[in-house]
Protein backbone atom coordinates (compact mmCIF):
# COMPACT_ATOMS: atom_id res chain seq x y z
CA UNK A 1 0.00 0.00 0.00
CA UNK A 2 1.08 3.57 -0.64
CA UNK A 3 -0.06 6.01 1.99
CA UNK A 4 -0.11 9.78 1.78
CA UNK A 5 0.26 11.97 4.86
CA UNK A 6 -1.31 15.42 4.60
CA UNK A 7 -0.40 18.61 6.40
CA UNK A 8 -0.78 18.19 10.16
CA UNK A 9 -1.39 14.43 9.94
CA UNK A 10 0.52 11.29 10.86
CA UNK A 11 0.28 7.67 9.80
CA UNK A 12 1.93 4.36 10.61
CA UNK A 13 2.32 1.36 8.30
CA UNK A 14 3.70 -2.17 8.09
CA UNK A 15 5.91 -3.54 5.31
CA UNK A 16 5.49 -3.71 2.42
CA UNK A 17 4.30 -0.15 1.93
CA UNK A 18 5.44 3.41 1.43
CA UNK A 19 4.43 6.46 3.43
CA UNK A 20 4.80 9.78 1.62
CA UNK A 21 4.39 13.41 2.54
CA UNK A 22 4.72 16.02 -0.18
CA UNK A 23 6.11 19.51 -0.21
CA UNK A 24 7.62 20.08 3.23
CA UNK A 25 8.71 23.71 3.49
CA UNK A 26 9.19 25.04 6.99
CA UNK A 27 7.20 21.98 8.10
CA UNK A 28 9.15 18.97 9.35
CA UNK A 29 8.59 15.35 8.36
CA UNK A 30 9.35 13.07 11.32
CA UNK A 31 9.96 9.40 10.53
CA UNK A 32 10.09 6.80 13.28
CA UNK A 33 11.03 3.30 12.15
CA UNK A 34 11.59 -0.06 13.81
CA UNK A 35 13.82 -2.23 11.59
CA UNK A 36 13.25 -5.36 13.72
CA UNK A 37 9.50 -5.21 13.15
CA UNK A 38 9.74 -3.50 9.76
CA UNK A 39 7.09 -0.99 10.70
CA UNK A 40 7.22 2.74 10.90
CA UNK A 41 5.38 5.98 10.55
CA UNK A 42 5.60 9.55 9.40
CA UNK A 43 4.28 12.79 10.90
CA UNK A 44 4.00 16.11 9.03
CA UNK A 45 4.31 18.82 11.68
CA UNK A 46 3.76 22.50 10.93
CA UNK A 47 4.35 24.27 14.21
CA UNK A 48 6.61 23.67 17.20
CA UNK A 49 4.42 24.11 20.23
CA UNK A 50 0.70 23.77 20.93
CA UNK A 51 1.20 25.79 24.12
CA UNK A 52 1.70 28.92 21.97
CA UNK A 53 -1.97 28.67 20.96
CA UNK A 54 -5.00 29.22 23.15
CA UNK A 55 -7.30 27.30 20.82
CA UNK A 56 -6.76 24.96 17.91
CA UNK A 57 -8.69 22.33 15.99
CA UNK A 58 -6.12 19.70 15.05
CA UNK A 59 -3.49 18.65 17.65
CA UNK A 60 -1.33 16.77 15.13
CA UNK A 61 0.02 19.84 13.41
CA UNK A 62 2.14 20.56 16.49
CA UNK A 63 5.51 18.86 17.07
CA UNK A 64 4.92 18.55 20.83
CA UNK A 65 1.71 16.53 20.28
CA UNK A 66 2.18 14.76 16.93
CA UNK A 67 5.56 13.14 17.63
CA UNK A 68 4.47 11.53 20.95
CA UNK A 69 1.24 10.36 19.26
CA UNK A 70 3.20 8.72 16.44
CA UNK A 71 5.59 7.13 18.95
CA UNK A 72 2.74 5.88 21.15
CA UNK A 73 0.97 4.26 18.23
CA UNK A 74 4.13 2.43 17.19
CA UNK A 75 4.68 1.27 20.79
CA UNK A 76 1.11 -0.12 20.86
CA UNK A 77 1.98 -2.04 17.71
CA UNK A 78 4.81 -3.66 19.60
CA UNK A 79 7.70 -1.60 18.28
CA UNK A 80 10.51 -1.23 20.79
CA UNK A 81 13.70 -0.66 18.82
CA UNK A 82 12.91 2.64 17.16
CA UNK A 83 15.02 5.17 15.33
CA UNK A 84 14.06 8.59 13.95
CA UNK A 85 14.89 10.54 10.82
CA UNK A 86 13.79 14.08 10.04
CA UNK A 87 13.56 16.23 6.92
CA UNK A 88 12.29 19.74 6.18
CA UNK A 89 12.45 22.81 8.38
CA UNK A 90 13.49 25.14 5.55
CA UNK A 91 13.39 28.91 5.58
CA UNK A 92 11.54 29.46 2.31
CA UNK A 93 11.36 33.25 2.28
CA UNK A 94 13.68 35.88 3.62
CA UNK A 95 12.11 39.31 3.85
CA UNK A 96 13.99 42.30 5.16
CA UNK A 97 10.80 43.28 7.01
CA UNK A 98 10.68 40.00 8.96
CA UNK A 99 10.91 40.23 12.71
CA UNK A 100 14.36 39.05 13.71
CA UNK A 101 14.45 35.49 14.96
CA UNK A 102 11.22 34.45 13.27
CA UNK A 103 12.36 31.23 11.68
CA UNK A 104 9.57 28.73 12.08
CA UNK A 105 11.54 25.99 10.30
CA UNK A 106 14.41 26.20 12.79
CA UNK A 107 12.01 26.25 15.74
CA UNK A 108 10.24 23.18 14.35
CA UNK A 109 13.55 21.31 14.04
CA UNK A 110 14.63 22.23 17.57
CA UNK A 111 11.32 21.18 19.06
CA UNK A 112 11.23 17.86 17.17
CA UNK A 113 14.77 17.07 18.40
CA UNK A 114 13.79 17.92 21.97
CA UNK A 115 10.65 15.75 21.87
CA UNK A 116 12.53 12.80 20.31
CA UNK A 117 15.20 12.92 23.00
CA UNK A 118 12.53 13.09 25.72
CA UNK A 119 10.94 9.98 24.21
CA UNK A 120 14.34 8.30 24.07
CA UNK A 121 14.22 7.77 20.31
CA UNK A 122 17.66 8.27 18.73
CA UNK A 123 17.80 10.65 15.75
CA UNK A 124 19.95 8.84 13.20
CA UNK A 125 19.66 11.01 10.08
CA UNK A 126 18.44 14.47 9.05
CA UNK A 127 18.10 16.54 5.92
CA UNK A 128 16.98 19.92 7.23
CA UNK A 129 17.30 23.66 6.69
CA UNK A 130 18.10 25.43 3.45
CA UNK A 131 15.51 27.38 1.48
CA UNK A 132 13.85 24.65 -0.58
CA UNK A 133 10.94 22.25 -0.28
CA UNK A 134 11.23 18.48 0.20
CA UNK A 135 9.06 15.47 -0.53
CA UNK A 136 9.72 12.51 1.76
CA UNK A 137 9.00 8.84 1.04
CA UNK A 138 9.50 6.17 3.70
CA UNK A 139 9.88 2.60 2.49
CA UNK A 140 8.72 0.41 5.39
CA UNK A 141 10.40 -2.65 3.86
CA UNK A 142 13.89 -1.23 4.28
CA UNK A 143 13.48 1.86 6.44
CA UNK A 144 15.20 3.86 3.72
CA UNK A 145 13.75 7.32 3.34
CA UNK A 146 13.95 9.10 0.03
CA UNK A 147 14.07 12.90 -0.03
CA UNK A 148 13.11 14.60 -3.30
CA UNK A 149 13.48 18.26 -4.20
CA UNK A 150 12.70 20.55 -7.10
CA UNK A 151 15.90 21.03 -9.08
CA UNK A 152 18.24 19.79 -6.33
CA UNK A 153 18.03 16.09 -6.98
CA UNK A 154 17.22 13.18 -4.69
CA UNK A 155 18.94 11.82 -1.62
CA UNK A 156 18.44 8.98 0.83
CA UNK A 157 18.31 8.99 4.58
Amino acid sequence: MDYLVGIGEYRIADAPSTVTTRGLGSCVGVIIYDCSRRAGGLAHVMLPNSKDFSTFTNPYKFADLAVPALHRELCLKGCSYMQAKIAGGAKMFTFSSDRSGFDIGMRNIEQVRRVLSELGVPLVASDVGGSWGRTVILNTETGITQVRTVGRGESEL
Binding site: G6, I7, G8, R22, G23, L24, G25, S26, C27, M46, L47, D52, F53, S54, T55, F56, T57, N58, K61, A90, M92, F93, T94, F95, S96, S97, D98, F102, I104, G105, W132, G133, R134, T135, V150, G151
Partner: protein, 208 residues
Protein backbone atom coordinates in the same frame (compact mmCIF):
# COMPACT_ATOMS: atom_id res chain seq x y z
CA UNK B 1 -7.92 37.82 15.94
CA UNK B 2 -11.65 38.02 16.50
CA UNK B 3 -13.76 35.95 14.16
CA UNK B 4 -15.21 38.09 11.42
CA UNK B 5 -18.95 38.42 10.84
CA UNK B 6 -20.36 37.32 7.52
CA UNK B 7 -21.17 40.94 6.65
CA UNK B 8 -17.54 41.88 7.26
CA UNK B 9 -16.38 38.99 5.10
CA UNK B 10 -18.73 40.15 2.34
CA UNK B 11 -17.16 43.59 2.61
CA UNK B 12 -13.65 42.21 2.31
CA UNK B 13 -14.79 40.09 -0.60
CA UNK B 14 -16.18 43.16 -2.36
CA UNK B 15 -13.04 45.20 -1.71
CA UNK B 16 -10.91 42.28 -2.89
CA UNK B 17 -13.07 42.00 -5.98
CA UNK B 18 -12.23 45.59 -6.89
CA UNK B 19 -8.53 44.91 -6.31
CA UNK B 20 -8.58 41.70 -8.31
CA UNK B 21 -10.44 43.40 -11.18
CA UNK B 22 -7.68 45.97 -11.45
CA UNK B 23 -5.04 43.26 -11.19
CA UNK B 24 -6.70 41.32 -14.01
CA UNK B 25 -6.80 44.45 -16.17
CA UNK B 26 -3.07 45.09 -15.68
CA UNK B 27 -2.26 41.48 -16.49
CA UNK B 28 -4.39 41.73 -19.59
CA UNK B 29 -2.60 44.91 -20.75
CA UNK B 30 0.82 43.47 -19.96
CA UNK B 31 0.23 40.25 -21.88
CA UNK B 32 -2.11 41.69 -24.48
CA UNK B 33 -4.49 38.79 -23.82
CA UNK B 34 -7.96 38.38 -22.47
CA UNK B 35 -7.90 37.68 -18.74
CA UNK B 36 -10.88 36.16 -16.98
CA UNK B 37 -11.27 36.59 -13.26
CA UNK B 38 -13.34 33.96 -11.49
CA UNK B 39 -15.66 34.91 -8.64
CA UNK B 40 -13.47 35.68 -5.65
CA UNK B 41 -14.14 34.42 -2.19
CA UNK B 42 -13.07 35.16 1.35
CA UNK B 43 -12.77 32.72 4.24
CA UNK B 44 -11.78 32.64 7.86
CA UNK B 45 -10.09 29.30 8.38
CA UNK B 46 -7.57 27.28 10.37
CA UNK B 47 -3.94 27.11 9.32
CA UNK B 48 -4.22 23.79 7.50
CA UNK B 49 -7.45 24.83 5.76
CA UNK B 50 -5.68 27.99 4.60
CA UNK B 51 -2.87 25.87 3.19
CA UNK B 52 -5.17 23.48 1.38
CA UNK B 53 -7.21 26.36 -0.10
CA UNK B 54 -4.14 28.05 -1.56
CA UNK B 55 -2.03 25.02 -2.40
CA UNK B 56 -2.12 22.56 -5.27
CA UNK B 57 -1.14 19.50 -3.30
CA UNK B 58 1.91 17.65 -4.63
CA UNK B 59 2.34 19.99 -7.59
CA UNK B 60 5.32 22.15 -8.39
CA UNK B 61 4.87 25.77 -9.35
CA UNK B 62 5.90 29.38 -9.14
CA UNK B 63 5.00 31.70 -6.29
CA UNK B 64 5.58 35.43 -6.25
CA UNK B 65 5.12 36.76 -2.75
CA UNK B 66 4.86 40.42 -1.80
CA UNK B 67 4.63 41.75 1.73
CA UNK B 68 2.44 44.79 2.18
CA UNK B 69 3.14 47.36 4.86
CA UNK B 70 1.13 50.28 6.19
CA UNK B 71 -2.50 50.28 7.33
CA UNK B 72 -3.35 47.61 4.77
CA UNK B 73 -0.54 45.31 5.82
CA UNK B 74 -0.64 41.69 4.78
CA UNK B 75 0.77 39.22 2.31
CA UNK B 76 -0.05 38.97 -1.39
CA UNK B 77 0.61 35.94 -3.54
CA UNK B 78 0.51 35.19 -7.22
CA UNK B 79 0.86 31.46 -7.77
CA UNK B 80 1.18 29.76 -11.15
CA UNK B 81 1.48 26.15 -12.25
CA UNK B 82 4.67 25.28 -14.13
CA UNK B 83 2.85 25.15 -17.47
CA UNK B 84 1.20 28.51 -16.87
CA UNK B 85 4.44 30.18 -15.87
CA UNK B 86 6.14 28.76 -18.98
CA UNK B 87 3.28 30.06 -21.11
CA UNK B 88 3.62 33.56 -19.65
CA UNK B 89 7.36 33.49 -20.39
CA UNK B 90 6.71 32.45 -23.98
CA UNK B 91 4.25 35.32 -24.39
CA UNK B 92 7.09 37.80 -23.85
CA UNK B 93 8.34 36.96 -27.35
CA UNK B 94 11.90 36.67 -28.61
CA UNK B 95 13.53 38.24 -25.55
CA UNK B 96 12.80 35.16 -23.43
CA UNK B 97 12.73 32.59 -26.21
CA UNK B 98 13.95 29.18 -25.09
CA UNK B 99 14.27 30.27 -21.45
CA UNK B 100 13.12 27.79 -18.82
CA UNK B 101 11.76 28.49 -15.34
CA UNK B 102 15.17 28.10 -13.72
CA UNK B 103 16.62 30.88 -15.87
CA UNK B 104 17.33 34.14 -14.00
CA UNK B 105 15.88 36.35 -16.74
CA UNK B 106 12.68 34.28 -16.92
CA UNK B 107 12.28 34.38 -13.14
CA UNK B 108 12.85 38.11 -13.11
CA UNK B 109 10.12 38.55 -15.77
CA UNK B 110 7.69 36.47 -13.68
CA UNK B 111 8.60 38.48 -10.61
CA UNK B 112 7.75 41.64 -12.52
CA UNK B 113 4.41 40.15 -13.57
CA UNK B 114 3.74 39.35 -9.91
CA UNK B 115 4.80 42.82 -8.88
CA UNK B 116 2.46 44.51 -11.37
CA UNK B 117 -0.52 42.30 -10.58
CA UNK B 118 -0.20 42.52 -6.79
CA UNK B 119 0.69 46.20 -6.98
CA UNK B 120 -2.47 47.08 -8.92
CA UNK B 121 -4.53 45.04 -6.42
CA UNK B 122 -3.13 46.96 -3.46
CA UNK B 123 -3.37 50.35 -5.20
CA UNK B 124 -7.02 49.73 -6.07
CA UNK B 125 -8.07 48.70 -2.57
CA UNK B 126 -6.06 51.45 -0.93
CA UNK B 127 -7.76 54.04 -3.16
CA UNK B 128 -11.14 52.53 -2.39
CA UNK B 129 -10.86 52.38 1.39
CA UNK B 130 -8.57 55.43 1.72
CA UNK B 131 -5.82 53.64 3.65
CA UNK B 132 -2.20 53.19 2.67
CA UNK B 133 -0.58 49.92 1.63
CA UNK B 134 3.00 49.82 0.41
CA UNK B 135 4.42 46.76 -1.31
CA UNK B 136 7.91 45.53 -0.53
CA UNK B 137 10.00 44.04 -3.37
CA UNK B 138 8.70 40.65 -4.51
CA UNK B 139 10.30 37.28 -3.83
CA UNK B 140 9.97 34.39 -6.24
CA UNK B 141 10.06 30.70 -5.42
CA UNK B 142 10.07 27.76 -7.80
CA UNK B 143 9.19 24.81 -5.58
CA UNK B 144 6.42 22.59 -4.26
CA UNK B 145 3.15 24.48 -3.72
CA UNK B 146 2.79 23.06 -0.20
CA UNK B 147 6.28 24.17 0.74
CA UNK B 148 5.83 27.87 -0.04
CA UNK B 149 2.13 28.14 0.81
CA UNK B 150 2.43 26.66 4.32
CA UNK B 151 5.31 28.94 5.13
CA UNK B 152 3.35 32.00 4.04
CA UNK B 153 0.19 31.04 5.90
CA UNK B 154 2.06 30.31 9.14
CA UNK B 155 3.97 33.59 8.94
CA UNK B 156 0.60 35.39 8.71
CA UNK B 157 -1.11 33.76 11.71
CA UNK B 158 0.82 35.50 14.49
CA UNK B 159 0.04 33.10 17.30
CA UNK B 160 -3.56 32.20 16.47
CA UNK B 161 -4.97 29.23 14.61
CA UNK B 162 -7.03 31.54 12.40
CA UNK B 163 -6.16 33.02 9.07
CA UNK B 164 -8.15 35.25 6.75
CA UNK B 165 -7.83 34.33 3.09
CA UNK B 166 -9.04 36.19 0.02
CA UNK B 167 -8.54 34.30 -3.21
CA UNK B 168 -9.49 34.56 -6.85
CA UNK B 169 -8.53 32.39 -9.80
CA UNK B 170 -7.24 34.05 -12.93
CA UNK B 171 -7.53 32.50 -16.33
CA UNK B 172 -5.77 33.79 -19.42
CA UNK B 173 -6.72 32.86 -22.98
CA UNK B 174 -9.34 30.29 -22.20
CA UNK B 175 -7.59 27.49 -20.41
CA UNK B 176 -3.95 28.18 -21.15
CA UNK B 177 -2.97 29.85 -17.88
CA UNK B 178 -4.06 29.06 -14.37
CA UNK B 179 -3.07 31.04 -11.38
CA UNK B 180 -4.33 32.25 -8.05
CA UNK B 181 -4.16 35.74 -6.70
CA UNK B 182 -4.43 35.76 -2.93
CA UNK B 183 -4.43 38.36 -0.20
CA UNK B 184 -3.93 37.51 3.46
CA UNK B 185 -4.64 40.70 5.39
CA UNK B 186 -3.31 41.23 8.88
CA UNK B 187 -5.98 41.62 11.62
CA UNK B 188 -5.23 45.38 11.65
CA UNK B 189 -5.74 45.67 7.89
CA UNK B 190 -9.00 43.72 8.12
CA UNK B 191 -10.25 46.08 10.83
CA UNK B 192 -9.18 49.12 8.79
CA UNK B 193 -11.10 47.89 5.74
CA UNK B 194 -14.33 47.00 7.56
CA UNK B 195 -14.26 50.18 9.64
CA UNK B 196 -13.90 52.42 6.59
CA UNK B 197 -16.80 50.73 4.86
CA UNK B 198 -19.03 51.05 7.92
CA UNK B 199 -18.41 54.80 7.95
CA UNK B 200 -19.08 55.08 4.22
CA UNK B 201 -22.40 53.28 4.64
CA UNK B 202 -23.43 55.65 7.46
CA UNK B 203 -22.67 58.71 5.35
CA UNK B 204 -24.86 57.51 2.52
CA UNK B 205 -27.78 57.25 4.92
CA UNK B 206 -27.26 60.78 6.25
CA UNK B 207 -27.09 62.27 2.76
CA UNK B 208 -29.90 60.17 1.35
Amino acid sequence: MTIASSVQLDMLNEVGNIGAGNAATSLSILMDRKVIMHLPWTRVCSIEEGCSILSRVGEVGICVEVRVEGNLSGTMLLTLTEDSAAHIISSFGTMLEGKTLVDDLAQSALMEVGNIVTGSFITAISNFVGETGMSTPPILLYDYFDAFICNTVIARTEGSDVVLVFKTELEVDGKAIFGDLAFLPSPEAFRAITKKLDVAEGMVEVNG
